[in-house]
């Protein structure tokens, strides 16, 4: 039985995960440079040791209610084929190793905004881990 490792994090009420191999690193709140005229989901640019990283407000991206705090969020830096992108999340969870048999595609009745961004769901004992589709989540042209 094959297993995969996921870096997990919390956003609003959701427990989300990204394949560990896609995650470059996780960092605390960083000072950001605001980008006038940019899409409102783009919160700013971060200097990550000389690399410029675009910070995406994942809450807005997933059409979740509420607002991302101005100063206490965490950055999950993921590698896309273009450049690293930071996903702004509330809190970081553990790295989980999960077997394929626990996986299921997303249920049909999920919130539309969310469903498009989710690859599927891992059924945990007392919770669900939603696997984020990072390609879609970071591609703002694809609404």
């Amino acid at each position: 039985m094959s297993t995969r490792q996921f870096c997990t994090f919390y956003l609003d009420q959701l427990y989300l995960g990204v394949d560990v191999l896609q995650v470059q690193e996780v960092i605390r709140f960083q000072e950001m440079t605001r980008i006038p005229l940019a899409h409102r989901m783009i919160r700013g640019l971060i200097n990550l040791r000389g690399q410029i990283v675009t910070a995406l407000d994942l809450r807005l991206r997933l059409e979740l209610p509420g607002e991302t705090s101005e100063s206490s969020f965490m950055n999950v830096i993921i590698n896309t084929h273009d450049a690293p992108v930071s996903l702004m999340v509330d809190e970081i969870g553990d790295v989980l190793e999960l077997g394929d048999e626990q996986f299921e595609p997303p249920p049909q009745h999920l919130n539309v905004g969310l469903k498009k961004m989710i690859k599927g769901v891992y059924k945990l004992d007392d919770d669900f881990l939603l696997i984020l589709n990072t390609e879609k989540a970071t591609d703002l042209e694809n609404k």
């Binding site: 000072e31 440079t33 980008i35 006038p36 783009i42 640019l45 200097n47 000389g50 591609d139």
Partner: protein, 738 residues
């Protein structure tokens, strides 16, 4: 040894290395699924080597490669099956090529290298399926194991010591790291000021020096001489001059001027285009020149030199020059400018019209230039790398193109400004001057024309743009004025005078900081559509600042006076989509007397090829065209009612073929026609009557009183080169009936 040759050798060696493996794989599994692909790869490499040989005058090498190529063609067309003998001989050929290359790198030419005639014989013999036995004696004799193992390896080690090829990505990474090191060093230096420890200060000083040297060194690794592009020009100029019946002497000055590698790549095509244009349109024929009292030999001068962090390149000819009046007429006729504007336009502004898309003054479309795509592309390409191009021309005396480009894209000098507490960098390239108005002046000197603010800068009107207003929708210019009035004596108004195209405008910012050398970093794809920014940079304190793209900003706020430029661009794009609205049509004789048209939007160029240049790839006829393979479609063979003409389409050996090079989404195909006649401007009302659609024809139009069919070039290409539209979705739908 000269640079071109060295580059050629390095490239050949690298390619051959890969080919050996391909061939060996091929031999192991001759029925494998990737056989066609592998053969194609080998063929292309060999073909490239052959092409370069001809160009570099390496005849002996060419003779060896030539027969190898023929053999590969046979293999690709499956005329002969792959056997060990063939693979062995091909490998021998590669070894022979290596030997010759080694010989070239020591002596500089391929003359007096070994005799390879028996190898050539073997290659020839293998092309016919029956003569397998014939080559047998040749194989063991020609290239023994000795020269392969000894000579070439020694040679390769030598070159390895002189230069190595490095992945550009690695260089970029090094560059990044050095940038970071510089920042850290700067912080360190500030820290030293508060320290008393002498040993620490001395160490920091050394760190300082080493860092600077390291930075310089890494910068240099990316530099290449502009001569790398220019070296191809003497030949190009000679050929073109012959073709046009002109006499041209080429002078080049400043070959050794160094530029960043990326810049070299970016300006290569624009430069070549300008040079071609200068010869084709700029310089006159000898007899005309004599009549004008000029020497019969035209002069084309290329110059390059460094100036304050930029490289200036000028391309000057002493030809006919451009008549601004002609441009005015032409632009009016094409509706590119309004009659009211036309009368007021300065000569300089008129000259700049040639950079508009869809503009061409060439009275005749030739196969070298004059399709009206070109100068706009040249300008776009140069601007894309942060450069500028300008045309100076005097009627009867000649034209000069002046190109100014930054030395490197990686590090540019920039002015730091502040808008709403955020810092922004403005490239110095676009900066003209800074104006600071204080106290009452600040309020009084801003004047409004309706609701557009202007400033009188030395008695000329300067449109003003308020950066905060651009960035934040809520703010207005009135807010700025109220704010200034409140401050009274302390009011300060900072205007950064910028140049975009040939229009100047003033950008009002909150504060002006100092200038700085900044490392440009690209923005991620989520931000690419924001044309206002050229990138981002990391400042000394580690914060990120955005770099303003002055052209993009000017376009956003509409200060570029030639707003038509955008409209035109949009219009051109529209035209691509709407085939029913035809504007320009290319009229040609398809077969015999039958006339047809094709929308000019699809035509990339018009060319003439000698029929002996046609090669065959499978059952397709192709020609080598600008380092690409251009598939050809003979209309005479493919149009349905053409049978009765087929007798005369058997090409004579020396026939000149008239070819329309069509381009569609980056792919090219050539359509061979009987004769290219004219470009016709049709009325706006002209519509394709789709009811007359049939094979090879999408419909008909009424042109100058007669009915003329419109060629369905996509349909034809799609039928004869099915791969042409592969992975282009629904291409048929774009052109076929709505």
């Amino acid at each position: 040894m000269d640079e071109v040759l060295a580059a050629f050798l390095a490239e050949c060696r690298e390619n051959l290395e890969k080919l050996d493996n391909e061939l060996v794989l091929l031999e192991r599994d001759p029925q494998g699924p990737h056989i066609a692909e592998a053969l194609g790869k080998i063929f292309r490499t060999v073909h490239t080597i052959k092409g370069s040989c001809g160009w570099l005058g390496l005849n002996r090498l060419e003779s060896v490669v030539h027969d190898g190529e023929d053999l590969l063609v046979c293999l690709r067309e499956e005329k002969v099956a792959i056997t060990t003998a063939i693979v062995t001989t091909l490998l021998e050929m590669f070894d022979a090529i290596r030997e010759i290359l080694a010989h070239i790198s020591t002596t500089g030419s391929d003359e007096s290298s070994k005799d390879y005639s028996s190898l050539v014989q073997a290659l020839k013999a293998l092309q016919s399926p029956v003569s397998l036995a014939a080559h047998q004696p040749a194989e063991p004799k020609t290239i023994s194991a000795e020269p392969i193992s000894a000579a070439p390896t020694v040679q390769r080690q030598q070159t390895a010591a002189e230069s190595i090829r490095i992945d550009v990505k690695l260089l970029d990474k090094l560059m990044n790291l050095v940038g970071e090191l510089v920042l850290t060093r700067n912080q360190m230096l500030q820290f030293t000021n508060t320290q008393e420890d002498a040993a620490f200060t001395i160490t920091t000083q050394r760190l300082n020096l080493i860092t600077s040297e390291l930075q310089e060194g890494v910068m240099k690794t990316r530099m290449q001489m502009i001569g790398l592009i220019w070296n191809a020009y003497p030949r190009l100029v000679r050929d073109l001059a012959l073709e046009c019946g002109k006499q041209v002497s080429l002078e080049m000055d400043g070959k050794e001027t160094e530029l960043d590698r990326t810049m070299i790549d970016a300006i290569k095509d624009p430069l070549t285009h300008i040079v071609r244009n200068a010869i084709d349109h700029g310089l006159e024929r000898p007899e005309e020149r004599i009549a004008k009292g000029k020497p019969p030999m035209g002069r084309l001068t290329l110059r390059a030199y460094h100036e304050g962090g930029h490289v200036n390149i000028s391309i000057q000819d002493d030809g006919a020059g451009i008549d601004p009046e002609k441009l005015r007429e032409r632009a009016l006729q094409k509706g590119l400018i309004q009659a009211s504007d036309a009368a007021q336009m300065s000569d300089r502004a008129l000259l700049n019209l040639i950079f508009l898309p869809g503009f061409s003054t060439a009275e005749k479309v030739t196969n070298i230039s004059g399709r009206g795509v070109g100068m706009d592309v040249v300008k776009n390409n140069i601007e894309a790398v942060g450069g500028m191009v300008e045309l100076i021309s005097e009627k009867g005396k000649g034209s000069t193109f002046k190109i100014k480009i930054p030395l490197t894209l990686a590090i540019i000098p920039a002015l730091m400004v502040i808008s709403q507490n955020e810092r922004f960098a403005i490239p110095q390239m676009n900066l003209l001057e800074l104006v600071c108005l204080e106290g009452d002046d600040a309020v009084r000197s801003i004047e409004m024309i309706y609701n557009s603010p202007v400033y009188r800068l030395r008695e000329k009107l300067l449109p003003l743009v308020y950066l905060n207003q651009v960035f934040e929708q809520g703010l207005s210019f009135a807010d700025l004025l109220t704010h200034l009035k409140q401050q009274g004596e302390d009011a300060r108004l900072n205007i950064v005078v910028l140049q975009a195209d040939d229009q100047n405008f003033g950008l009002i910012v909150d504060q002006i900081h100092d200038t700085a050398e900044i490392v440009v970093k690209p923005l991620s794809k989520q931000l690419k559509n924001l044309s206002v920014y050229a990138g981002a940079t990391i400042l000394g304190d580690g914060k990120v600042a955005l770099i303003i793209d002055v052209m993009g900003l000017a376009q956003r706020v509409n200060v570029i006076s030639e707003a038509q430029r955008n409209n035109l661009q949009a219009e051109l794009e529209n035209r691509q989509d709407q085939d029913n609205e035809l504007h320009n049509l290319l009229l040609f004789q398809a077969i015999g007397q039958r006339k047809m048209v094709i929308p000019l939007a699809y035509v990339a160029r018009l060319e003439e090829f000698n029929s002996n240049k046609i090669e065959y790839a499978g059952d397709l006829s192709v020609v080598q065209y600008r380092k690409q393979i251009l598939p050809l479609i003979h209309l005479a063979e493919v149009l349905p009612d053409s049978n009765r003409f087929s007798a005369q389409t058997e090409p004579d050996l020396e026939e000149l073929l008239q070819v329309i090079v069509c381009v569609d989404q980056g792919r090219m195909a050539g359509i061979v026609v009987e004769k290219i006649l004219d470009i016709v401007d049709s009325d706006d009302e002209t519509e394709i009557q789709h009811s007359l659609k049939r094979e090879g024809v999408i419909g008909s139009v009424i042109l100058q009183g007669s009915v003329i069919d419109v060629l369905d070039f996509r349909g034809i290409i799609g039928r004869h080169i099915p791969s042409f539209f592969e992975d282009l979705p629904a291409s048929q739908d774009l052109i076929a009936v709505r």
